[in-house]
């Protein structure tokens, strides 16, 4: 394992499986009367969130606390960042406070990478711009592996995963393409042509513009959120039209294979990319994904911080 987790593309297959297997054991902690392990006692984890996030921050916080680490939440609003402090000065402040790990979310792609050069602790990318969100991909892979009844050490060979929606702005899609491919799944991206990135020749996946044609060939269908906040141009005529062509409704759900599952990284726009009945159906793993997120993040924190402090 590297000292940092910046990108799913940096992981080896062995690393990825180690994280998933570790998460599998740590998931059992959630069923115990005392949901706490003493492993990271005395370690400090800083949540450094330059972008709004509820579930990811809370998930990391819960994970760190279950491992007995001390958690400092560094919210940008009300901090000196709002007063114009640079990322580097913020990093040096965290360094001086003795952060063993910095969980960072930033609107600029590459911010965690820069941060990793400035702090001694481990940097965990919790989403940077449209670049990557590796722990989300790991928890998705974990959820898929569990739902398809695959156990420890097993990868996702032979499973067909279709990722639908705003691929252009999605760090979740990017991380998932790399990780799911690494684990042996066959990934197809489906989006309107305007929401497909331009330079993606080296992405290990195929691209389609037609959702209906891919439904019957999908074991997993992952719906992405339409990220209105990042859209600075008209990528599709109207939300209604987008929803009609690329939304997952009950009619489309019926075209999926019998045991196919429906995923969404959240937060959902019900009625836009996913119909409410679909989100609440038994095929949907959306609630599981949240629970699994804590286990996977515990695994990442343990593997990065639990052992010997890496020399490099």
């Amino acid at each position: 394992m590297n000292r940092h987790l910046i990108s799913a593309a940096d992981l080896s297959k062995q690393d990825a499986l180690l994280i998933l297997d570790t998460a599998e054991e740590l998931a059992r902690v959630a069923d115990r009367p005392i949901k706490k392990l003493p492993t990271l006692r005395g370690r400090t984890v800083v949540n450094l969130f330059f972008e709004d996030s509820t579930r990811t921050r809370i998930s990391f916080e819960a994970a760190a606390k279950r491992l007995s680490a001390d958690v400092i939440n560094f919210a940008v609003k009300g901090s000196s960042v709002a007063k114009g402090e640079s990322l580097k000065d913020t990093a040096l402040t965290l360094e001086a406070m003795g952060a063993d790990a910095v969980v960072v979310r930033h609107s600029a792609s590459g911010a965690p990478q820069r941060l990793a050069g400035w702090v001694r602790g481990s940097v965990i990318n919790a989403g940077d711009g449209a670049h990557e969100h590796p722990t989300q991909a790991l928890l998705d892979a974990f959820t898929i592996r569990r739902r398809f009844g695959r156990g420890g050490g097993e990868a996702l060979d032979g499973l067909r995963v279709t990722i639908v929606g705003d691929v252009l702005h999605s760090r979740v899609a990017r991380s998932n393409v790399w990780l799911l491919h690494l684990l042996g799944a066959e990934v197809t991206l489906v989006a309107p042509p305007t929401l497909v990135p331009v330079a993606m020749d080296d992405w290990p996946c195929s691209v389609s513009y037609d959702l209906d044609a891919t439904l019957s060939k999908s074991d997993v269908i992952m719906m992405l959120r339409i990220q209105q906040e990042r859209m600075n141009a008209a990528y599709f005529p109207s939300v209604r039209e987008y929803s009609r062509r690329y939304g997952l409704d009950t009619a489309r759900l019926r075209q999926l294979p019998e045991d196919a599952i429906v995923m969404h990284p959240g937060p959902m726009n019900r009625g836009v990319e996913i119909a409410a009945e679909v989100a609440d159906s038994h095929r949907s793993t959306i609630v599981e994904q949240v629970a699994n997120g804590v286990s996977v993040r515990m695994a990442v924190l343990y593997l990065l911080l639990g052992g010997l402090e890496a020399a490099q």
């Binding site: 394992m1 180690l18 297997d21 570790t22 054991e25 740590l26 059992r28 115990r32 009367p33 005392i34 706490k36 392990l37 003493p38 492993t39 491992l67 343990y302 593997l303 990065l304 911080l305 639990g306 052992g307 010997l308 402090e309 890496a310």
Partner: protein
């Protein structure tokens, strides 16, 4: 079986040490080019020791009615399974057994890179009010057992906790002792005790070898120098 072979002289570390030590089994020690692993328990002896421990557990716990056997991964788990099977044979009813991983409770986590976790599987009936028998292959410093006691604490409140080990090799660093011992094996800290079990290693044996031998591709669980 209860009497341990005392290493002749007990000089630690000299390579010839294990050769001069009389092997209990009398069988020819498996020899490597430099290392001299010596078999201290063969399959039949391991079997007998486990059978004896099973009977002792039944005796000491009045029929093992409220007993839960928890093996410490890796090799404590199959040992716990075998003991449970033997108790079942004698008492004619199933004995709950499972596994208890102690990795997250170790006191030396920061001395080595993060370790892979072992499985923790507590039987459905839980451990509250039961007599938990912890099962491990080798008792050495006692730190593993200390960690196991902490782990148990987070799982429930047993009526009593006992400890069963296949080999007690001495050199305790904590005030911990075993209730059931397969074999007391006085060792030098320069030596490594290697336990092989058919479930994990394809054969049953307990080997004693000088510490240098552990550098070879290892098979079997070892307890060697950790400090």
């Amino acid at each position: 079986m209860a009497h341990a072979a005392r290493p002749a002289g007990g000089q630690p570390g000299t390579p010839g040490d294990s050769v001069t030590t009389p092997g209990l089994t009398g069988g020819p020690p498996a020899t490597g080019p430099r290392a001299h692993p010596k078999t201290v328990l063969e399959a039949a002896e391991i079997n007998r020791a486990l059978t004896r421990i099973a009977h002792e557990i039944i005796e000491r716990t009045r029929g093992a009615e409220q007993v839960v056997l928890l093996g410490i991964p890796t090799r404590g788990v199959p040992l716990a399974g075998r003991m449970a099977a033997r108790i079942t044979q004698v008492e004619g009813r199933p004995v709950p057994h499972g596994s208890l991983d102690i990795t997250m409770y170790r006191d030396d986590l920061r001395l080595r890179p993060a370790r892979r976790l072992g499985p923790t599987q507590v039987p459905a009936e839980g451990i509250d009010g039961k007599t938990v028998v912890l099962v491990d292959d080798v008792l050495y410093s006692g730190r593993t057992v200390r960690a196991a006691l902490d782990a148990l604490n987070d799982l429930g409140r047993p009526l009593a906790v006992q400890l069963a080990v296949l080999v007690d090799r001495g050199h305790r660093e904590l005030p911990i002792r075993a209730d059931y011992v397969g074999k007391n094996l006085p060792t030098s800290q320069q030596e490594v005790v290697r336990v092989l079990l058919s479930e994990t290693d394809g054969e049953d044996a307990v080997l004693l070898e000088p510490v240098g031998a552990a550098a070879r591709p290892s098979r079997g669980g070892t307890t060697g120098r950790r400090r």
